[in-house]
Amino acid sequence: MAQLRRATVIGLVVGIVMLYLAGVGLIGAFANREVVTEYLSLGQLMLLAPLLLGGYAMARQAASVIQRLAIGAMAGGMGGAVFALGILAVLALSPGIRDVFIRINENLLSFVLFGLDPGPGALLIVGLGLGLGLVGASLPVVPPSVRRGLLSGVAGVILMSMLEPFVRPRLTDFDLHDVVVFLYQARGLRPVAALVVFAVSALLGLGWRPARAEVSRRFAEADPGAQRMWRWVAALLVIAFIVTLPQLTGVFLTQVLVLVGLYVLLGLGLNIVVGYAGLLDLGYVAFYAVGAYFTALLTSPTSSLGIGLNFWVALPLVVLGSAMIGLFIGAPVLRLRGDYLAIVTLGFGEIARVLFLSDALAPWFGGVQGILSIPDIIGEGTYALPLLGEIRGPAATYYPLVGFCLVAAFVAWRLKYSRTGRAWNAMREDEDVAQATGVNIVNYKLLAFAMGAAIGCLGGAIFATHLESVFPGTFNVLVSITVLAVVILGGMGSIPGVVLGSFALIGLPELLREFAEFKLLVYGGVLVLMMILRPEGFVPDVTRRRELHEAEEGEEDEGDDGDENLTPRDATQPAPIQA
């Protein structure tokens, strides 16, 4: 009985989610973005995915396999029925009221009813719901490795079709026209190509874990000299990949990479303030703005200073100045905690924007007009690199940006595993106890703000030279929120998390143009889901593993053989107050 009630509830939720997605226009927006040409569009995927997930959510609870499948199918069918009824109800409304739901127009209706009449269409939806619920419910029965394979196969197909606008011209550039013809038809994948892509991605997904385990096992068995060599080889491969990326991806994707890189920098800086030191700063955009404006003032010949310094000469001044601003903002909020700190920093962020915008300060900062003609970072925006030849366009920003990101990540990494990082963490966990343990709270808070500011301003500096101009409107509160979302999504205090978070929140939306107007809606939804399902983030902080410096010699986690050499004194250890 309880199971039935749950299935009903999940079915209702699924149906309402589907109605919501259709109602706000997400499904309509993606209706014509084809994944597999003539067979499947992204809109259909979005419409049907909740049915599958509903079945999956149900099945994790039930006792026997049969019960699982039945209840999953029921939840899916229920979801489909709710959605179909909702759509029919909208159809039955008088035209005046129907106009309220402007997104639910004839096109959308015919799309969600698969071009059928309302009656058969609704039945088809319920049928699909039953089927997909059943499939979803059977997923937990499948071995995890197979599930991973299926998942990565689907992800591969979606990604390849989404990347069509970028892959097609690049492949053509490299004279691979045959591959283009094989892969794509119109904007989607050819059915055969989709199968191939699915198979390849699924195999990669299946093979990834065993391969990684095998590699790390062999690595652990190798002698230290060989280990060092392989580490260098891996590092060189990664560097080579990063360096050739703009050549491979082309101008547009490089532009996206620059945007992602900017947020990586900002995220790394904010991660120190929020993730390490636990100071919830909602005005981080202030440091971004300060970095951009300081750079503009110092380097642009038309700014109020008009000294037109070289970027690299100006950079140390910008960093120092921003760190000072960090101290300046940090000082008044030393006594504030949690929500109070968040509100005050939110205010500081807005103050920064308003100051740069204000007429009173316009003689210095240019007010609404901002500051123009900021020179490029290196040369006149084009320069030559060995092997890569002439660098121009966004790639000219990409290389220094990657350098900055690496430096910032290195600094963040070193700080994290230092006395300073531990003091910050202690402060985050319990400020009073940290102080009673000897941590000078005032100094460490100020240091966190100054560090965050110094790294954030690098992002601003690059941003200013990339656009060759700065305007106050850019530095609004949404930037602060987005950077915070990047940090939270990736995992607080985690450096790889920041990189992954930037790619997910900044990179992906750029690939889907149709997505733009729903960006914030989806951000909100993703954050809510993350907080419920995985509050520690995609790549949780792994302090624990790094602390095992013995880990460098191989195994780290549990496993008795690994533990033996960690606890040579275990047997003789006194157990004074062993319970």
Binding site: F410, V411, R414, L415, S418, R419, T420, G421, R422, A423, N425, A426, R428, E429, D430, D432, V433, A434, Q435, A436, T437, G438, V439, N440, I441, L447, M451, T543, R544, R545, E547, L548, H549, D563, L566, T567, R569, D570, Q573, P574, A575, P576, I577, Q578, A579
Partner: protein, 272 residues
Amino acid sequence: MTTVELETIGSAEESAILLEARDVTKQFEGLVANREIDFSIPRHSIVSIIGPNGAGKTTFFNQLSGIYHPTSGQITLDEVDITNLAPHQVAQLGVARTYQNIRLFQNMTVLANVMVGRHVRSSGAWFAAVFGLPGIVREEEAIRRRSYELLELVGLRRRVAHELAKNLPYGDQRRLEVARALASDPVLLLLDEPTAGMNPRETRRMTEFIGRLRHDLHLTILLIEHDMKVVMGVSERITVLDYGEKIAEGTPEEIRANPRVIEAYLGKQATA
């Protein structure tokens, strides 16, 4: 047990009294939490403060560790005035403490908790860490080694060193708090109800452990308890607080026999 270098403070090294509180009064708005308390701790002794719940024990404790500052009166450690020092300065001078309701750094590892305790006995600055200066690598290694030693000393296994502190069972959390406090090489260890929530057997073990700590690490220890039985065995001197005032002081035997103490603990009928 590993050898421990004893951190000595100041030049007045061997005065008999380590900590002295004179006439300490703490007032919160209208409420007097501590009234004119005179109190001293002889070096290398174990001294206890007892009293019913709400007697002002923890308030007094918090003033010793710099978390509160007395409304009036003076506190000296080794003849250094610490009355108005901030908690981190008091910690620097060699006062370490534990908490009645365990307060670990929950989301840090067991080892990191102890390493933070070492903060005041290390000096690595952020730029040294960023540039990886040679001194810092050695210091980190020393901090780590010492932290492992302390984990062992309090009876925590090496294999839990990389667990998050919050995942430890209750008794181990108490021990970890002691290890964190010991990491600062304290001269004075303040233990706030170290046996709270323990069963009689664990309590006995803990009191034995406290006695050994004093001996092995040359510590001076101040205990707070509301359960009289716990402190009788280990303390040389006991001070009794009630309603913020010191009502008795003396050896365990004297305290056991003191009518005012019995009254404070059991009510008037018991003495009649």
